[in-house]
Each structure stands twice: as structure tokens, then as C-alpha cells.
Symmetry: C2
Subunit: 110 residues, 2 copies
DNA sequence: TTTTAATATTGCAATATTAAAATATAAAAT
DNA sequence: ATTTTATATTTTAATATTGCAATATTAAAA
């Protein structure tokens, strides 16, 4: 097939998967790290930071935006992209829950 | 193309992307949540928990294992799968760094 | 040693992703 | 008005993923 059976999972499972998937490419991780690093968020030079062509970077940015990891607004010829903190916090919180749950159980059988 | 230019990114970027990618499918998120939920980790019944055929589940487990998110050891006919806590902690820590970095900067321009 | 039960592997069709060249758009600068 | 600059979109090609049927493996049970 190739099409994910999205409907068969919970909304939260799909939400986490969507966020994780968006970070499932080193270029998009690199973009997030660059957005974190720069003070200003007029980010026209992301292309120069990455070993990828401009259309490819643009596409990666689109995916990050679709997934809700970054937000952006138009500023003349350049676009202002920022990390959407809520999404990162959502991920952090999710993994914190798992970590807590595991340390409580201490089932080190593997 | 379609092949990711892995070599052009840092080891850490690739590591995070690998972990994130493995969680980039709701079935694999569901598997992690199931492993978290059960006390014992003799998890032969993951297949019954998911709306997917056994080979598909097996494949998803393999991907989680390759990415280092779960570990498993053979126990007779059944396999003992567990979450690899280190991987989850690595993710949590990574997102914590980003969150901290952002709240320090307070660049709410988007 | 055959059966059974649990899991893995293989092969393949359907679909998705990745990358970039070519092209488009749209605002700022000349 | 034309050029430049920055970004997006479209198209095309290569590759990867998803899902499952069929089959294989493996070890315990009968």
C-alpha cells in the first residue's frame, strides 16, 4: 500500500507522529537548530546554512510549517520563520511522561 | 532523488532525525505507548493491540529497534521488547534544550 | 518427530518522500 | 519601467515507506 492507516490510531498518537515525522530528516533538524541559534528570526539565509538547493529548503520549511513546528509571516521579500514553542513543548512533555512512567516501573528485563 | 544527504549533517542532527523518524508513524507511537503501559514486557500481544497485520507490526518493531528506541531479547518463542529509556531521555533532553533556549531569548516576532 | 504457536523475512503493489532544475511570484532597488 | 533579490511552486526522477499475503524460522508442546 504505502498509505498510513491514520484513522485507526488516536488523535494524540497521530499528533505526536506528525511532529516526529517532521523532525525525521536531518535537514529539518538543522533548520530548527538554526532557528534556535539566531537572535533575529528573519531567516532568509537558511539556504546558505544548508547543503541543499533553495527549492529543497523551501519544501522542508513548508513541511515543518504544515506539521506546526514553525510559524512564519511574510515581511516584504523575506519571510520570518520561528520555532513554534508549543510544538516543542508538546514533544518534551510527551517524552517526559514516558520517562517518568518507566522509572516508576523499573522493569529492567531487557 | 529521494536519498537523504546524511553525510552533510552533524552526527547529532542525524541521531535526532533517526529517532524522530522512527516515531514518525502512529503505529510506532502506539507500540511505544503499549510498551509503556504494560508491566511485563513479554509483548507477544502487540499485534492484537494494533489494527495491522502481524508482518506489518513485526516490521514496525524492527524499525523501532534499528533506531534504538526499543531493545529486545529472545525468550523462547516469544520476544521481550522494552523501551530503551536512554533514547527517550535523549529526545526529552534535546527538546528541553530548545525550550530553554527559546524562553531565554523571547523573540516573539512571529 | 510432528504439530502448534509466535515471530521474522520476502516480495510486491500502492503511495510518499527527497532533491533539484525550471519556472513563477512579488516586493525592493535602480 | 526594469532589474534584482528572495522565496514559492511545478515538474520530473530517484528512492523510501507502508501494508500485507505468502512463506520461513524457531522453539516449546504433544
Amino acid at each position: 500500500m504505502g498509505a498510513t492507516k491514520t484513522a485507526n490510531f488516536t488523535d494524540n498518537q497521530n499528533a505526536i507522529a506528525t511532529l516526529a515525522k517532521a523532525l525525521g530528516h536531518p535537514a529539518r533538524v538543522a533548520i530548527i537548530e538554526y532557528l534556535m541559534k539566531v537572535d533575529t528570526c528573519i531567516c532568509g539565509d537558511i539556504v546558505n546554512e544548508l547543503p541543499l538547493a533553495q527549492p529543497t529548503v523551501s519544501q522542508h520549511l513548508k513541511e515543518l510549517k504544515n506539521a506546526g513546528l514553525i510559524k512564519g509571516s511574510i515581511e516584504g521579500t523575506s519571510i520570518c520563520y520561528c520555532i513554534d514553542e508549543k510544538a516543542i513543548e508538546q514533544l518534551q512533555h510527551y517524552f517526559a511522561i514516558i520517562t517518568n512512567n518507566l522509572t516508576n516501573k523499573k522493569n529492567n528485563c531487557c
